[in-house]
């Protein structure tokens, strides 16, 4: 729980990791946990195909969730930069400009990240659910790329400021979520290395999700690939998990979340359970 408290002390939390490791539910559990403590919290998803572009949902008095998408974010950003709303509108609605924002590589990422960054003035905490490893890294790189491209422009100043915030160990936490399996762990390590290159002074936190209960048994050397007995499977699963996590994470301090039974449980119920494992029972 000490790691969770450390993470919670920072304004921004970026949650990354391979697809299917439980990023979305865990990011919601973090957001709920923050808002329970009366921190005004914003939960951000980028371009979710399952929600309307720019959709903003008030979940409770302290928690809002938003689906940040290019078009509305770009419009807001231009309003902020150009200041005269009528001119901003003319600019953002111009066909050529719309085309340039879509076609210029990385620009999309910068706008989405910019919207996230500017939200800090309205919220105590901002939690970002990054879509996938590649997407997240490309997004962080965009600030560097644009600093080169837009030399001497207001956009470069923003790009630099965003990069500084992301690098700052006091302001931003990067959390890598993984499963106790080889491939997600390896991808997590790759993500960790890329983050280290971008933000060398802000080491990422780790969370191992869906830990199988630890059970005693013997490790078999010539194990068939497909097992018939649930007990054999459980024993091997438990042994392999421990081996993988130990060998790939070494002694790195990490948050550990058990595999939860989810049948017939609503999403809210699961988020509540995850929250309990992250923050403990007493607030």
């Amino acid at each position: 729980m000490q790691l969770v408290q450390e993470i919670q002390s920072k304004k921004f939390l970026f949650i990354g990791g391979k697809g299917g490791v439980g990023k979305t539910l865990l990011s919601q559990a973090f957001a709920q946990g923050y808002s329970d403590q009366s921190l005004k919290t914003l939960h951000i998803e980028f371009e979710s195909p399952f929600r309307k572009p720019g959709e903003e949902t008030k979940i409770n008095n302290f928690l809002t969730s938003i689906n940040v998408c290019l078009e509305p974010a770009f419009f807001e950003y231009m309003e902020m930069k150009i200041k005269i709303p009528r001119v901003a509108q003319l600019f953002a609605k111009n066909k050529l400009i719309q085309y340039l924002t879509e076609a210029t590589p990385g620009f999309r990422h910068l706008i989405l990240l910019g919207k996230t960054w500017h939200s800090q003035h309205h919220y105590d905490r901002i939690i970002v659910d990054m879509a996938s490893t590649g997407y997240g890294i490309a997004m962080f790189h965009s600030t560097r790329n644009f600093a080169t491209l837009f030399r001497g422009s207001p956009l470069k100043e923003d790009a630099d400021a965003i990069h500084d915030t992301l690098s700052d160990v006091k302001e931003t936490a990067h959390l890598i979520i993984t499963l106790p399996e080889e491939m997600p762990l390896i991808e997590g390590q790759e993500l960790s290395q890329s983050l280290h290159k971008l933000f060398p002074k802000n080491p990422a936190y780790w969370l191992v999700n869906r830990r199988f209960p630890e059970i005693q048994g013997e490790k078999k050397n010539h194990l068939p690939l497909f097992l018939e007995s649930a007990k054999d499977y459980a024993i091997q699963r438990s042994i392999q998990e421990k081996l993988k996590v130990n060998s790939l994470l070494k002694n790195k301090d990490h948050i550990s979340i058990p595999w939860l039974k989810t049948h017939l449980k609503t999403k809210n119920k699961i988020t509540d359970e995850l929250k309990l494992h992250l923050f403990g029972g007493a607030h």
Partner: protein, 352 residues
């Protein structure tokens, strides 16, 4: 479709799609091995940055041109062959440019451009375009009987196939012309104002870089559009079958509905569907748990089994009522460990 062998006999290209963490690369390789067992000359193309195929074959790396792995096959496939490659999209883009550029100066100028450097680095569609281009080239020029393309995992699985089209918009003449030849036209007051703001926001450097980049790409547009059309034609033909790979999580059903909708919308042939990592076949009857953790583990497995059964039923009903052609459907059991050899892949192939 009543058997995987029919599918492998019928199609020349199989494209596997799915969200991450579902064992898509393993399945792609297993499909390839099954093809080789049928006596086919098979190539598996993997665009996976995590190098999963190489790892599961016990190799460090795969090259940019096909590597013959037939000798790794533990069972003698009747004259079949198994090859694999991992395209180096960066070098492919360079090759592509060389082919398209009319002069070395043109090529060099483009390569030095700041925007172009980012363009090849980022996920702006260039990598996807190159991979599909490579697929098309291999199908047309090399004599493989069956090519399996393992697409990189993404949240929106089919975004891989949208990327090249997005890139294509870059070349749409009317936009580019508007931008490149502002002097040729009497610009409206609005347009002048817009360009003025743009310059103020981005700085002069960006504008000149962008114009240079756009001019260079504009010169390449005819060749580019033609290549893209070829790829599109291939993807829509009967020769190609799309294979969905998923794991039985509780939120799978909505994802599948979304995906099937997208496949239909694009007019792609949805030919097979694998649900990987199923635990329903594990026998829980002979297990009397002795301690707390064992009891928890048993309950957990039973919980997952129930969920899995319901999810699969839901998807099966959906597919039956929503597909004109019935795709081949198969559950693959959860493996007890990671795959590290060709022998392992053989076991998976047997389960297809």
């Amino acid at each position: 479709m009543n058997s995987i062998n029919n599918l492998l006999q019928e199609k020349e290209v199989i494209i596997t799609c799915g969200t991450g963490g579902v064992g898509k690369t393993t399945l792609s390789a297993a499909l390839g091995i099954q093809g080789a067992r049928l006596g086919k000359k098979v190539l598996v193309i993997t665009i996976d940055p995590a190098k999963r195929l190489a790892t599961s074959l016990g190799l460090k790396d795969l090259g940019d041109s096909p590597v013959d792995l037939t000798s790794f096959l533990t069972e003698n496939p009747n004259s079949g062959e198994f090859h694999a490659l991992m395209p180096d999209t960066h070098s492919t883009f360079d090759d592509f440019l060389r082919k398209l550029a009319q002069t070395p100066e043109q090529e060099e100028k483009l390569k030095q451009n700041e925007i172009f450097k980012i363009f090849t680095k980022e996920f702006s569609g260039a990598n996807e375009y190159m991979a599909l281009q490579k697929l098309n080239k291999i199908v047309e020029e090399m004599d493989f009987d069956l090519v399996i393309l393992d697409t990189p995992p993404s949240r929106d699985t089919l975004s891989f196939f949208n990327a090249p089209n997005l890139l294509n918009r870059f070349f749409e003449e009317k936009h580019i012309q508007k931008f490149l030849n502002p002097a040729n036209k009497v610009l409206s007051f609005g347009m002048n104002k817009v360009l003025g703001i743009l310059e103020k926001l981005t700085g002069k450097g960006f504008m000149s870089n962008f114009i240079e980049f756009a001019i260079a790409l504009f010169d390449l547009r005819i060749a580019f559009t033609k290549e893209l059309k070829n790829v599109e034609n291939l993807l829509h033909s009967e020769r190609v079958g799309f294979c969905l790979v998923a794991a039985p999580s509780s939120d799978l059903a909505p994802d599948i509905r979304h995906l099937v909708g997208q496949l239909n919308e694009k007019g792609f042939q949805f030919s097979s569907f694998f649900i990987n990592r199923c635990v329903s076949s594990l026998n829980t009857q002979d297990w009397t748990p002795m301690e707390k953790n064992e009891k928890e583990a048993l309950e957990l497995i039973e919980d997952i089994q129930t969920q899995e059964k319901e999810t699969i039923e839901e998807i099966f009903n959906f597919l039956q009522s929503n597909q004109n052609t019935e795709p081949y459907f198969k559950k693959i059991p959860q493996m007890s460990r990671d795959i590290h050899s060709m022998e392992d892949l053989f076991y998976v192939a047997h389960h297809l």
